[in-house]
Amino acid sequence: MIASTVSHSIDADRLQARRAKDAVRRLLAAAGAGGAVGLTRRGDGYAVQVSLRQAPAVELPSEVDGVPLELRLVGEVSAQRRAAPGAVS
């Protein structure tokens, strides 16, 4: 019974985080700011994580719809292939 309650609680948290994630994507799109948006763990719950190529030009809130927002600077993300000499792949 307890496990069932906990499981339900986690699912609800995750659904709420997903809705917040969608809101963050809309917020970033409206601001013309780029960034990969996903979910991350925070304690027993979840947070929305925005992975940025560079420092944001707009101020972002610390939480959206009650879900914490975390920013992470990851720089440029590249395909992890090693080019053949002289090639463009």
Binding site: S78, A79, A87
Partner: protein, 373 residues
């Protein structure tokens, strides 16, 4: 190291040349430097060409900043802060790692701006000058970059005219027949040659082990033929970057064997919840450990030499051993959880502290294959 030793080491790694502060990487080559500071370092290869290239490209100040930080055990270590990723960065960080005997902390901090200030006029960009992929390869994956028979997960693999990546897994096709799984940008893309901008590889084209960049040549090293590919489209959103190549007759493969990790324990269909410890074995960085730092990641922009592609549904893996989880050449590596169940197929990273993988269950379903164990 004690605080004074780290201070002296840092001071010796930094110089003031022509009014600019930059890394004096020649210092790294001197054994006496290491001995003087009493750390466990070894001789490192100097990378003056990298520094010169950065300077010529106007990369001033240097894209790496040095400082000091607690090592968590009562001492101190060199703090390496990466401002931006550039070709040659990996070699420089490895040089610093060698010079300090591993007593350093590496973190990507990006541009540091005055509070309230505007961003740089131009971002890091994504093109031939800013991508990585031509740096010297590190030692851990050396054995996997050679000719390996029977084939095994983690070894070098690539299109007969393409980039080098990693063999992720041996898979079984629904209609029968064994194939190898990797990324589409590894197996299914023919790079530019002459006036060509590059193009998707035709079905049936040869795949070699090791990859061309590692000395592989067709037909002597041909092991498979491209059978199916989910190649990223630069014009729309993507979820996958994966391909399979059917093994040619007579090529043996150790299905389910992950060198350095043990036996593959099948496929994990349970969704990620974040925080899971994961592993991979790749052509360049060998066996590494990481932690799932984000999942259900959308709007991820990945730089290919031919342009940017946007991905949804990825998961992010952060390094936990102060060493990148992946490096160029690791694309296609199978990511497994602590129970050795497959969770992802690696395809991107920043070369410093985060990597990205696509859910492997989705890859298998799309390509209509199952893992051979």
């Amino acid at each position: 190291m004690d605080l004074d030793a780290v201070r002296r080491l840092k001071q010796d790694l930094v110089m003031d040349a022509a009014g600019r502060r930059g890394l004096r990487l020649g210092t790294l080559a001197r054994c006496e430097t290491v001995a003087r500071y009493g750390c466990r370092g070894r001789t490192a290869s100097p990378k003056p060409d990298v520094v010169a290239a950065w300077a010529q490209a106007g990369q001033v100040p240097a894209p790496v900043a040095l400082g000091l930080e607690p090592d968590g055990a009562g001492g101190y270590r060199l703090a390496v802060r990466v401002v931006r990723t550039l070709p040659g960065l990996h070699g420089v960080v490895e040089g610093l790692r060698a010079a300090t005997g591993g007593e350093l902390g590496v973190r990507l901090v990006g541009y540091v701006l005055p509070q309230g200030g505007a961003g740089p006029a131009a971002g890091p960009g994504c093109g031939p000058g800013s991508g990585s992929g031509n740096e010297p390869d590190p030692a851990p994956g050396a054995g996997l970059r050679r000719r390996v028979r029977p084939l095994v997960s983690g070894c070098s693999l690539g299109h007969r005219r393409g980039a080098a990546g990693t063999l992720g897994a041996v898979v079984m096709r629904r209609g029968g027949g064994r194939a190898v799984l990797s990324c589409a940008h590894v197996l299914g893309w023919v790079p530019a040659g002459g006036a060509s901008a590059g193009a998707p590889a035709p079905a049936g084209s040869g795949v070699v082990q090791p990859a061309v960049a590692d000395g592989g040549r067709a037909p002597a090293d041909r092991v498979a033929r491209l059978a199916a590919s989910a190649l990223p489209d630069l014009r729309c959103r993507n979820r996958l970057d994966a391909a399979i190549a059917e093994l040619v007759d007579g090529v043996a493969a150790h299905a389910g064997e992950l060198p350095g990790l043990g036996r593959l324990a099948g496929l994990r269909r349970q969704p990620l919840a974040g925080g899971e410890t994961v592993f991979k074995v790749g052509r360049t960085s060998g066996v590494t450990r990481g932690r799932v730092s984000a999942f259900e990641v959308d709007d991820l922009t990945v730089c290919f030499r031919r342009g940017d592609a946007v991905f949804d549904g990825a998961f992010e893996i952060e390094a936990v051993d102060d060493r990148p989880f992946s490096l160029p050449g690791d694309s296609g590596a199978l990511v497994v959880d602590e129970a050795r169940r497959a969770v992802g197929l690696l395809y991107a990273g920043n070369g410093v502290d985060v990597s990205y993988a696509q859910p492997v269950a989705e890859v298998l379903d799309r390509l209509r294959v199952r893992l051979a164990t």
